[in-house]
């Protein structure tokens, strides 16, 4: 999958391009046209993770990527009508990436559904699993799918669940005795920074790690 921006300069696409250059993957193109868009509702590092996933999804399909500048999470559902009504070709699929944060998953999905209805978007079918829902939607004469992905892992003991939870889980699997006290770090982002160098002290494992 190749990603093209609908705005420049746009932080997610610049972040993806930066990481693409560093790790020698090629996932961004300057322009394109598509029936699908990805809406990054939180920001970084969700954009970077998505960029890497795009590379691994392979293929040459073009998909637009947007990050509404001033709104986050569920509020992005208020502006999807702009994408539906103004973009050509007609948008058929929207993938929305959203952090769980402190909310209960069911509450998020309920709030999303209520928000869609408030925006006169009806849901004709719903399927999915724990953190991913696919809604078949209708707005006036437009039929489209919203694929809603909620980032975070319940098994990671943090106050706010974000995409970084997956990194922590990876660290737990990678470093045998790693038991993060992530609440001490006031969220996983700091931990992410500490994990960035293999010689950093992480949960007192640094000496063992060096060996």
């Amino acid at each position: 999958m190749k990603l093209f921006p609908l705005e420049l300069p746009n932080k997610p696409i610049l972040n993806i391009s930066k990481i693409s250059r560093k790790i020698k993957i090629n996932v961004t193109v300057p322009s394109g046209s598509s029936e699908s868009i990805v809406i990054i509702s939180n920001g970084s590092p969700d954009d970077i993770v998505f960029g890497i996933l795009s590379f691994h999804s392979d293929g040459k399909e073009l998909v637009g990527i947007v990050k509404p500048p001033r709104i986050t999470r569920i509020a992005v559902l208020d502006i999807i009508k702009t994408y539906l009504l103004k973009l050509k070709p007609r948008i058929k699929k929207m993938l929305i990436l959203m952090d769980q944060e402190e909310d209960n998953l069911n509450d998020i999905f309920d709030k999303c559904k209520r928000r869609l209805i408030k925006n006169n978007i009806s849901i004709t079918k719903e399927e999915g699993e724990l953190r991913l829902k696919v809604y078949d939607c209708k707005y006036v004469d437009r039929e489209f799918k919203i694929i809603l992905v909620i980032n975070g892992l319940d098994e990671i003991d943090v106050k706010k669940h974000r995409i970084e939870d997956h990194l922590i889980k990876a660290a737990c699997l990678f470093l045998k005795d790693f038991k993060p006290k992530v609440n001490d770090y006031n969220g996983p982002q700091n931990l992410d920074n500490r994990l960035s160098s293999p010689y950093n002290k992480v949960g007192g494992q640094d000496e063992k790690y060096k060996k």
Binding site: P5, L6, E7, L8, N10, S31, G32, S33, S34, I39, G64, V66, K67, P68, P69, R70, I71, I79, T82, Y83, K86, L87, K88, P89
Partner: protein
């Protein structure tokens, strides 16, 4: 005022049309046809009229100015006017007060004959397959030879401004300084330009520089002088454009890449100047890549402005009129109309 323009087979535009406003702002990516629209409007007045640009000891004609703008290819002749160089005929159709004024460029045996549908004295050319065709002049396809039969205005006169033309405008001012200085516009332009700079200009003069060659100077309040060419490019462009406008007195101002060399302060000043021109009944058509420029100029002159997003799809002009509110709405949704043009047109 030109209400509508239709273009066929002119340069990169195979076909296209556009409604024009008192102030029309054309936004688009590179190679989207913006400059060709301005050039069509510029030619519509008469390709053979003299315009205030000077190069190599001669006052240029409108069509020669376009040739100069595309000089990078170092190609002689006027084949560049015809779509893909091979179209048999190009057409510019301007609607003015419900009348259509059509200018045709007809290729025939190494020449491009220029024909107008206006009732004016024209030469009669016998073109095989078309019969007798009236012509106001011709252009050679292969060299810079041209022949003029009629050089008066066919529609309202227009002035084309482009960053590429500023030096030729400067040359024109230098060569015609004696008449320009007597018009009394230099002091007014100098004083207005002071509001854009940290220096206070009182007048614009022409005097010998070191070595004796004449140069145009901005004359400062303290009696010192700075050569116009040594001022920042933005101030230079502004001063030259303003004087050229006063000299030419066009009904239509065509400005390519209006944001070029200008910071928002100068853009703001120009926007207000445009407001004055619009109040006088003038028409303005601009191209820009800058949303900031479109917003500043469009917002100040909102009632008279129309903003278009344009692009070419297989050489067919595609346009979408957008409002400033829509630009804001798109911005809120993370969409930049210039970047997402392929999904908006």
């Amino acid at each position: 005022m030109i209400n509508r323009i239709k273009i066929k087979n002119l340069k990169g535009i195979k076909e296209g049309e556009l409604d024009l406003f008192p102030l029309t702002i054309l936004l688009g990516s590179n190679n989207s046809g913006k400059t060709t629209i301005l050039e069509a409007l510029f030619l519509a007045s008469n390709p053979f009229r003299k315009v205030p640009y000077f190069d190599k000891d001669k006052n240029l004609l409108a069509v020669e100015v376009l040739q100069l703008m595309h000089e990078t290819l170092k190609a002689e002749g006027f084949a560049f006017l015809l779509h893909r160089y091979t179209a048999q005929e190009a057409e510019i159709d301007c609607n003015v007060n419900s009348e259509n004024y059509i200018l045709k460029f007809i290729k025939y045996y190494g020449k491009v004959y220029v024909n107008s549908n206006r009732k004016i004295p024209q030469e009669k050319i016998d073109i095989r397959g078309k019969g007798i065709v009236p012509s106001i002049g011709y252009l050679s396809l292969f060299n810079n030879e041209l022949h003029i039969h009629f050089d008066l205005f066919l529609v309202d006169n227009s002035l084309l401004i482009s960053p590429n033309l500023i030096k030729f405008g400067y040359n024109y001012l230098e060569k015609n300084w004696a008449s320009i200085i007597n018009m009394g516009v230099c002091r007014k332009v100098a004083e207005e330009s002071s509001t854009l700079s940290n220096e206070s200009y009182k007048d614009i003069t022409i005097e010998p520089f070191l070595g004796g060659k004449l140069s145009i100077y901005a004359y400062l309040e303290d009696g010192t002088r700075i050569r116009l060419g040594d001022l920042g490019e933005g101030i230079q462009s502004y001063i030259i454009t303003r004087i050229l406008y006063e000299v030419e007195g066009p009904s239509i101002v065509l400005w390519d890449d209006v944001e070029s060399h200008f910071n928002p302060k100068i853009l703001f000043k120009i926007s207000n100047w445009f407001g004055d021109l619009l109040d006088e009944g003038k028409q303005i058509v601009l191209t820009t890549h800058s949303l900031e420029a479109a917003r500043i100029i469009g917002e100040i002159n909102e009632e008279k402005a129309g903003i278009y997003l344009i692009n070419l799809d297989k050489n067919i002009l595609k346009t979408k009129k957008i409002t400033l509110e829509e630009i804001e709405e798109f911005k809120e949704a993370g969409i930049d109309v210039r970047v997402a043009d392929s999904m908006l047109l």
